[in-house]
Every structure is written in C-alpha cells, then in structure tokens.
C-alpha cells in the first residue's frame, strides 16, 4: 500500500512536470504578450520592455522553464498578472468554492447515477428512459445551466440562481460554506449555503450522472447474469439482496472508471457553471485569466486541477481495488502463468 502510494506520488510529480512543460512550451510559440496585459493597452514601448524584464519574459524559454520549476519546488507559482497576487494565494482563495461545488456535484452525480441505473434496471430496454438520459447527457452544459437558472430561480423562485451565500461576511475554517455553517452551529448559514449550492451542483452533476448511470446500468445488467449471482439466488437471496450485496460491488469497476473520466471532463464544465452562476471558484478565476493572458495563473490553476484530477484518480483506483480484490494496486504486468 505504502509502496503503491509512493509510486503514484512519483507519477504525480512526473505528470505535473509534463503539464508544466507543455503549457510552457506553448508559451514559447504564442504571440500573446502578458507584459501588454500588465502594462495596459496604451503603454509605451519602454514601459513594456521594463515590465518584460521584470517578469523575466525576455529570457529564452528553457531558462524561464528552469526558473519556474525552481520556484514551483519551493511552492511559489509566481504572481498573477491580473490580480497581482501570488498565484498560490489566489488558488487558496478560490479553491474552496470549486471544491465545494465539485464535491457536491460528484455526490449528486453519483446518487443520480445510482437512481438512473436502478430505473434502467427496472425498465430494461425502455426507449423512453434511454432517450431521456442520452438527451440530458448531450445538452451543452451552458444551456443546461442557464435553463436551470431561468426556470428554477427566475420563473419559479425555488432556489437562488447565483452566488454562494446570501449572508455577507461569514467565513469559516474550511472555506466550504455548508460545512463551515454546520461547524459553527449556524443552521441558517448551512441551509443558505446548501440552497445556493444545489442548482450549480446539479448542472455539473447531470453529465456525470448520465455517463456513470448508463455505465453502471450496463455493468449491472451484465453482472446480474453471472453464475455467482445465480449461486446467491440459489441460496435464497432476493433480487434486491443479490443486487446490493453481490451485484453492485462486482459491477463497480467500469462505472468507477467512467467517474474518473468524467472528473477530467468536469473541470471544463466547472468553468462554465461557475461563470453562469457567479460562483467564485477556480474555474471562474481561470476563465478570467484567459481573457488577460495571465499565464502564471493559467499554469497554476492547470497544475492545481491536474493534481486534483490525479489524486481523484488514485482514489478511484483504490476504490476499484476495494470493490474487487482481484484488481491489485500493483497493476501487475506479468502475464497469467500456465
């Protein structure tokens, strides 16, 4: 286990280095000019040059990359061009909102996926169920989000459609308002945070739920025909018991893998949803960084999201091996002998 974690940690560092390099390599070929973004549109050439020198943008790319790596190792992701704050500090500031939204979306998504899978099992081969799910899964996320805002908030007024909290000036230790509200024994805050969270989380969760739900449905369908399920039925277990005790675990691997894939796709959706719901998270920060060619910020957020993605995938691998003891964490390469 420890060896596994260590190996994955080394892998993580390798991936981060590669990612940093990729984005840095891009920087070498783009005509974009962060110095211009810093100095302003009308700034004279001398000012521009001064800013370039100050940022070290006049150095060759490998030198910049080396310098960047050196700093990253020390936990310094550079200074954002737009906010003029250390990128790390910015990430710390914006991360909790994204984390709250992402976790809630994963939770809702997984729950809905289970629901979808059960509906799928209850009405196998139902064209209506399938078409509904696929349609939901192929709607552009921004349309889903805006329709949710329009109907649920604007038209019906059931849930708030923007922001994280109606209360101003509340903050807690974790930065996740829902949890902080509970920690501070402020049910009003927790409830308010939950209300604000539901719609955007639902928007992010929907594609996850559809993809994972369909995968789980298909996987269950297959597993429930395996001989060992017949053994368990032969023991007198009911359909439900056989499904919960034996089917689900055996069917978990493929949907878990799909969940991992969806987490990768979720980062893009987070940017959209955070923008539409005015949700002050890393996605929003990233989107705004695009507009001002804020490369340190783009790089920093990419690294942050990248790390989260890798950690999430390690988690998923562990969940897979937990569900099925045959899947070793070692990912053995030796062929099956004799």
């Amino acid at each position: 286990m420890l060896a596994y974690l260590l190996r994955r940690l080394i892998g993580l560092v390798a991936v981060l280095l590669a990612m940093a390099f990729l984005i840095f390599a891009l920087q070498g070929i783009i005509p974009a000019d962060p110095a211009r973004a810093i100095a302003g549109v009308a700034a004279p050439v001398e000012v521009l040059e001064a800013v370039r020198d100050k940022l070290g943008l006049s150095d060759p790319v490998p030198v910049q990359y080396g310098r960047f790596l050196g700093r990253v190792v020390q936990g310094d992701l550079g200074t954002s061009i737009r906010t003029r704050q250390p990128v790390l500090a910015d990430i710390q500031k914006y991360l909790p909102a994204s984390l709250e939204l992402g976790l809630a979306a994963l939770l809702i998504g997984t729950a809905l996926a289970g629901l979808f899978a059960l509906v799928h099992r209850r009405f196998p081969g139902s064209a209506v169920v399938r078409l509904t799910l696929i349609t939901a899964g192929s709607t552009p996320i921004f349309l889903t989000a805006l329709l949710l805002v329009y109907f649920v908030w604007f038209r019906l007024g059931w849930l708030p459609g923007a922001g994280r909290l109606s209360h101003r000036g509340f903050s807690g230790p974790t930065g996740l308002n829902l949890i902080d509200g509970l920690l501070a024994v402020r049910p009003d805050i927790a409830l308010d945070a939950l209300q604000h969270l539901l719609l955007p989380a639902l928007a992010v969760a929907l594609p996850i739920a559809v993809a994972v739900g369909r995968s789980l449905g298909a996987s269950l369908h297959e597993v429930m025909r395996r001989p060992y399920i017949r053994t368990m039925r032969g023991k007198g277990l009911s359909e439900g018991e056989a499904l919960w005790r034996h089917g689900l675990r055996n069917a978990a691997s493929a949907p878990l893998a799909m969940l991992g894939l969806q987490i990768g796709l979720m980062f893009g959706n987070l940017m959209v949803v955070e923008r539409i719901f005015a949700w002050p998270g890393l996605g929003l920060y990233m989107v705004q960084s695009f507009a001002s060619a804020d490369l340190p910020a783009i790089l920093g957020v990419s690294l942050a999201f990248g790390s989260i993605y890798i950690v999430a995938n390690i988690g998923i691998e562990m969940a897979q091996s937990l569900a099925d003891p045959r899947i070793g964490l070692s990912r053995s390469r030796a062929g099956a002998a004799d």
Binding site: Q85, L146, L284
Partner: protein, 507 residues
C-alpha cells in the same frame, strides 16, 4: 417522478429562501461587474469595469463634468497655466480630508503624483512629460512640464488620470513597492465612497463617505457583485436583484424591456474602427472603394446598435471633435460589384481582438455585406495580445476590427495612440509623415478651432491613404430599474461608468 420529488424539495426550500433573504434597504445600489477587479490601485488599474469604483473612492485634481468633455475642478478649486505653457498651478479645495481623517494638503498631492510619475506603474506614462511636481504652499501644487502639451489638463481629467492617495497609506504600508501590494485590495482616498469590502470573485462594496466635502451621495452603500455572465445579469436585473446592467445589454432586447426597467443612454467615445494591412487587394483604389461601399456602416448600424449609436464622422470620436467635412462612404453597390468582378476574386481576412459580442456581430455583418459584392471574407479571433505584434507580420489578417477608446477627450490622445508613425497602437506599423507633422503641430496649439482643423486634416489623410476606417460611435447604454437618475455618464469615460456619487432614485 424525479421532477415531482424535486419540485417538492424545491418548494420547501423556496419558502425558506423567502424567510431568510433579508429585505433590501433602499439606499443600496447594486451594479454587477462582469470581471473581477484585478487591482484597486489607481496608478496600476486600467480595467474598464473597475473604473467607476476607483473614481468614486479616489479623486484627482480635475475631472470631466458629467455628460460633457468640459473640464472642471475636483480637488483643485481652480488652476492657472503659466505663460510659457509649461507650468500648471493648482489651488486645492479647502476642508477636504481623506477617509482616514488625514486632511488633504499639497504635500499629499505631490507624494501621490510622484508615485504615479516615477513608480514604474502601469499608468506612469500619464505623467511622462512632467519634470517637476512641487507644493509651493500647503494649498497649492505646481506641476512643470518638459515640453508644451495643451492636452495635459485632459490627461489629469482622464478616468485613468492621477489620483490622490492618503499619505498615511505610504507611511504605514509603503514596503518596497510604494504600497502597491497593499493598494491592490485597499483604498484610502477622498471620494464620496470608501472601499469596505474587497472579495475577488465574489464582489466589492463601497460605503458612503459621510465626511465628503461635496454633495452628500444619495446611496449609503454600493454593492458590486461579480456576475460574469450577461444572461445572468439580465435575469437578476429583471428579478430586481440588481439595479442596473451597466454595459452590454443586448440592443435588440431594449425595445421590449419590462415595465420596471428603463434605459439611460449617452454619447460615448467608443468608436469602432478598421485598420488595414498594407499589401492587400485593398491597395487597389477600385477595390478599396468597393469594400467601403459594402461595409458602409449606414447600411447596418441600426441592425446592431438600434438607436444607440451614430455614424462616425471622422477618425476622431464625434464627442471629441466635430469635423467640418465628415468622411463619406461610396454608395453605389452595383458599381462595387462591377469593380470586384473586374478585379477578380478578392478574399479578405478580418481579425478581431477578442470574442466580444459586438465585435462578432459587426464582423459577421461585414462578412455578409462583403458577400453581396462578391468579396469572400472570413473572421479570425486573434490570440491574446496578438494584435499588438502584427507590425510587419505577413500572416496578420488583412484588416483589424477594433475599438478606439482614448484615455482622454483630446484628439491628440487619439492620433498619438493609433495613427502616428510612433503610435503605440499603430497596429500595422504604417507611416504617413506629412500627417504626423500636422498632428505634432496641432499638439502645440491652444486655439481649439484651429487645432481641431489640423487634426481633422490629418485624419482625412490617414483615411484617404487607407490606414484606417471609422465606422460607428456607440452610445453608453445603461439599463436600470425605473427611477434611477443622474448616472453621471461621461463621454470620455469607459462605457457603463456610473457615478455613484450622483446617482439617486428619482423622488
């Protein structure tokens, strides 16, 4: 089944929401920001969205009067220009104090202006021509220029012009960077509002400065939530959760606004222009004339801007300069078609600086218009900052659609930023020395009519040489709740710059 369950849950939560949402006090103005405020430092920040707030917290020596390009005193009650046109003497207003209680004096002005001038900050170039800033007595500041610059007073009145920061800030937070990092998110000025909340990504809040020297603002608090998505802004405005959408409300929807909303529009110095690359088919006078016929803004302006724009009369914004002879576009479409047919296939690549909606719409329209005369046009969104490095680049698009939006309401700002050979934003690096000479000559003149005549003449030369094409001057359009008045929009300020100090609910 799912939706039913969900609707029940939603209904239950809705009831709670109503109970929990605090009633809005009437003295709060809520205006959304599309983009985070990067920095609140008046010497560093140039983002359009932030300027309203910065200009309501900080004040300079002079300012543009609302609704005009006329310059009036702000912290300076009056000023004189020396006979040599190099020294400017400002007499400070009495009884002004900063938000932290420090009284305003000449030394404070000098300290702030010196920071701007020498601090290597983003906006330092504003005072590039200043050689000396001195306090001749506690209520008098004397600024000395290196060479004659009649436009200097406009520089001071610009939305981005130098502001006065409390000396206490420098005493307590100077650090090694002239307090730049502290001033990113904090502010102590003399304006009608103080900055009380700075939460990037979430929003900002200003509180009324009750010790303000001027007229007491109507609103007690200004809330500036970050609402990046325009659709969301519109919905929130219609739902009454915002009081105004300061910028970007789709013009096509203005005719059908709900009864609770209304529009305040004012002329603005937002001019859409086209810059052309040398060495394209447009160098042929006949083709150029045909293209001008097709993209004639008179043919499409209303489709995009409705009643909220006017045709540009020259390469200078209409609000800045009223030309004796406006530029004219040919109108014979049949002749244009014939010219293109005679010339052979013409393809044009139109570059736009970003995927801003108005750029996209105009570009789309121009493509459609050009198609009618047989010119094939395509649109490219340029990578970030690419527009600034197009000089001499053969792969650059054939024309660039952009907004010219000078710092100040003075033709020199426009000409020296965009047209002259050494202009920073002379995108394609084109050069017309005779016209440059006229601009330089005009820059030294104090007689406004004579000066403008020279600028106009230079403008015609740039236009006729095919450097740039003025299209449309777009209005400043603010959509807001009915009854919000005195928005204090200024033509020389960026769009949507509501003056929180004057805005109020009509009784």
């Amino acid at each position: 089944m799912i939706s039913k369950a969900f609707s029940r849950l939603g209904g239950a939560l809705a009831v709670l929401t109503l109970v929990l949402t605090p009633a809005m006090a009437e003295e709060v103005l809520r205006v959304p920001l599309s983009v985070d405020i990067g920095t609140f430092d008046p010497d560093n920040g140039f983002e359009i969205g932030a300027m309203s707030a910065i200009d309501n917290v900080y004040e300079g020596l002079v300012e543009y009067a609302p609704g005009s390009t006329e310059i009036v005193g702000q912290l300076a009650e009056r000023w004189e220009v020396g006979a040599d046109e190099l020294s400017y003497t400002f007499h400070l207003r009495d009884g002004v104090s900063f938000h932290d209680g420090t009284p305003l004096d000449a030394a404070a002005v000098v300290q702030s202006f010196e920071r701007r001038r020498t601090g290597e900050l983003a906006l330092s170039y504003f005072l590039g021509n200043v050689t000396d800033i001195a306090a001749s007595d506690p209520a008098t500041v004397v600024i000395t220029l290196g060479h004659k610059q009649p436009s200097f007073i406009h520089v001071l009145a610009s939305a981005w012009g130098p502001k006065v920061i409390s000396p206490k800030v420098f005493a307590e937070h100077a650090g090694s960077d002239l307090a730049a990092s502290w001033l990113n998110e904090h502010a102590v000025g003399t304006g009608p509002f103080t900055l009380t909340e700075f939460k990037r990504g979430e929003g900002y809040a200003l509180k009324r400065n009750d010790a303000y020297w001027g007229a007491k603002p109507f609103f007690e608090e200004i809330r500036l939530p970050v609402v990046p998505d325009l659709s969301q802004q519109i919905l929130q405005l219609q739902a009454g959760e915002l009081d105004a959408v300061p910028d970007g409300y789709p013009v096509a929807q203005l005719a059908g606004l709900p009864a609770t909303l209304e529009v305040s529009a004012a002329p603005n110095m937002t001019q859409f222009q086209i810059y052309t690359k040398p060495g394209t088919a447009m160098d042929d006078a006949a083709v150029r004339s045909a293209v001008l016929t097709a993209i004639n803004p008179a043919l499409w302006m209303k489709d995009i801007f409705g009643d909220y724009a006017e045709l540009s009369k020259s390469l200078y914004q209409n609000a800045m300069l009223d030309p004796a002879v406006p530029v004219s576009f040919p109108t014979d479409l049949e002749a244009a078609k014939a010219a293109i047919a005679a010339h052979g296939p013409v393809q044009l690549r139109i570059g736009v600086q970003s995927e801003v909606v108005s750029y996209a719409r105009i570009a789309e329209l121009m493509v459609a218009q050009l198609a009618t005369i047989g010119v094939k046009a395509s649109v490219e969104v340029l990578p970030l900052g690419a527009a600034y490095v197009m000089k001499g680049d053969a792969k650059a698009p054939d024309m660039l659609l952009t907004i010219a939006n000078p710092d100040a309401a003075h033709p020199e700002s426009q000409a020296k930023t965009y047209f002259t050979t050494d202009a920073v934003l002379n995108f394609y690096g084109r050069s017309l020395p005779e016209a440059d000479a006229l601009v330089n000559e005009a820059g030294l003149m104090t007689d406004v009519a004579a000066r403008d005549a020279l600028y106009e003449q230079a403008g015609h030369m740039y236009f006729d040489a095919g450097y740039a094409i003025p299209l449309v001057d777009a209005d400043d359009v603010v959509v807001h709740a009915k009854g919000l008045v005195d928005l204090g929009l200024r033509p020389a300020f960026p769009q949507g710059n509501i003056d929180y100090g004057t805005a109020r609910w009509a009784p």
